[in-house]
């Protein structure tokens, strides 16, 4: 590992640990985590699911808004590495999804259809508190390599500690509020993607890119901007005008 890479890594760890700020936004934090995973690890995609406190798992962040990746997390409500990982609290993986269709009858075919051949889920936990999982995907055979798994777990651990740092004297209070806020924001973002997709005639990936691009260039929180789109008060034309590839149209 060269110096540049080491420095980058050190900076990422600091980024993940720096959560004791007043305006901590869990969704943006988790989006940053998955982005860093794809940058630093030898993986094609990454996503985070969180326990919704109601017995379910919900996607909180994904490294791409491609429908097929997003869908993989909806599917994992029924079966998949994340579900197994959260239930057991230990890493769960498959180096060959084609061989694991019996193990995960809904997830494995969906993952293969999305172009992934291997997966590895590591728990986001602090002692007995498993709040979710970080799911890594590979498009090439042989499984996620050991170094990437170790580093992925380390990133997940630092992120989890960072999230749990927000806890007040009462174990649950702030953590529950923040996790539920993140999950609700995610719903708003999906609703907003739909509105923009219909308005601009673009697919969900591009709708999201337009939303995020506009939020960044106007220094707005993604979830706040998404809310204005979803409640009908946003200037959709302005948001789409900033999109990189307005010419890409969805299939009719």
């Amino acid at each position: 590992m060269n110096d540049h890479h080491e420095q980058r890594l050190a900076r990422v760890f600091v980024e993940l640990a720096d959560t004791l700020v007043d305006d901590f936004d869990m969704l943006e934090f988790l989006s940053m985590l998955v982005e860093r995973c794809v940058e630093l690890l030898d993986v094609a995609a990454a996503g985070v699911v969180l326990s919704d406190h109601k017995g379910g798992l919900r996607m909180a962040a994904a490294s791409s808004e491609q429908a097929r990746l997003v869908e993989l997390f909806a599917v994992q409500a029924d079966d998949g590495p994340c579900l197994d990982c959260v239930r057991t609290g230990v890493p769960v993986y498959s180096a060959d999804l084609a061989a694991d269709e019996l193990r995960w009858p809904r997830f494995a075919p969906a993952a293969l259809a999305a172009g992934f051949v291997a997966t590895h889920a590591v728990p986001m936990r602090l002692r007995r508190n498993v709040i979710g999982a970080l799911n890594l995907f590979k498009a090439e055979p042989d499984g996620v390599d050991e170094a990437s798994v170790r580093l992925g777990q380390a990133l997940a651990d630092v992120a989890t500690i960072g999230m749990l740092q927000q806890r007040a004297i009462d174990d649950n209070t702030i953590l529950v509020e923040q996790l539920q806020t993140a999950l609700n924001s995610r719903v708003v973002i999906e609703q907003a993607k739909g509105v923009l997709s219909a308005h601009g005639g673009v697919d969900m990936d591009h709708a999201f890119a337009a939303l995020r691009g506009y939020a960044r260039s106007h220094n707005l929180r993604l979830s706040a901007l998404a809310f204005t789109v979803a409640d009908g008060t946003a200037d959709l034309r302005a948001i789409m005008a900033g999109a990189d590839h307005p010419a890409r149209r969805a299939e009719q």
Partner: protein
């Protein structure tokens, strides 16, 4: 985990079913027992077009809970309203520590006997119907298990409220928990395409699914991949 939790609560609601009493009121009573709080009420967000009757209807397990709902709407602040705005639970184990946060609400709330309040929003992204507000006469946090129960009960209250808006009896409890990203995306598309609210869009998708005996997720998929376009007649 809490896999059976939801089923158990649905069953309890059905068992308690005195159908002349609205589902919301029954959910409030169920919440009191399940969460071991003193009382539970529902704050409704009044919407343009909502009938006067719906706005005046109070769903609460007791007079104090009803009073707390009235109070929030009168002073325009409180845990329930905060939960509706944030889309997340607002858990207040000790109201006296929250006086600076809600100076117009807390003193009066405490004077009628509330020491702690836990508010759970009845929201689904940008769809906001109200909040399920629980109070206790003693301070202290809500346990993790009780928080989980409350979230499920809030989901049931959300479904019951949607059913009221759509004009039919609450049925198919738990359909909201089966919804994932694509249904939200489809709701956004239908909202834009038909020029209706997000709430109306979701109801339209569900109505189409029921009329055609399809899963809501299947209808959503077709809307998103543009093989289905709902029109105003659907």
């Amino acid at each position: 985990m809490t896999g059976n939790h939801r089923l158990r609560l649905h069953a309890l609601l059905a068992v308690n079913g005195n159908h002349s009493v609205s589902a919301l009121t029954r959910i409030c009573s169920l919440a009191v027992m399940e969460l071991q709080v003193t009382g539970v009420g529902v704050t409704l967000v009044s919407r343009a077009g909502a009938s006067d009757a719906q706005q005046r209807l109070v769903h609460a397990s007791d007079a104090v809970a009803a009073r707390l709902e009235d109070l929030q709407l009168t002073v325009g602040e409180g845990p329930g309203l905060a939960a509706i705005t944030s889309g997340a639970p607002v858990l207040v184990p000790d109201l006296s520590a929250a006086r600076s946060r809600w100076p117009a609400f807390c003193p009066d709330a405490q004077s009628v006997g509330a020491a702690a309040m836990f508010a759970f929003p009845l929201t689904l992204g940008a769809i906001a119907l109200g909040s399920l507000d629980c109070y206790r006469t003693t301070s202290g946090a809500l346990s993790g298990d009780h928080v989980a129960s409350a979230l499920i009960l809030a989901e049931m209250a959300f479904e019951a409220l949607l059913a009221e808006v759509a004009g039919h009896a609450p049925d198919d409890l738990g359909w909201i928990s089966d919804i994932h990203a694509e249904v939200h995306q489809a709701s956004g598309m239908v909202m834009y395409q038909l020029g209706i609210s997000m709430q109306a869009a979701l109801l339209r998708i569900r109505a189409y699914a029921y009329a055609h005996e399809l899963a809501v997720a299947v209808v959503a998929r077709r809307i998103v991949d543009r093989s289905l376009l709902l029109d105003t007649e659907s």
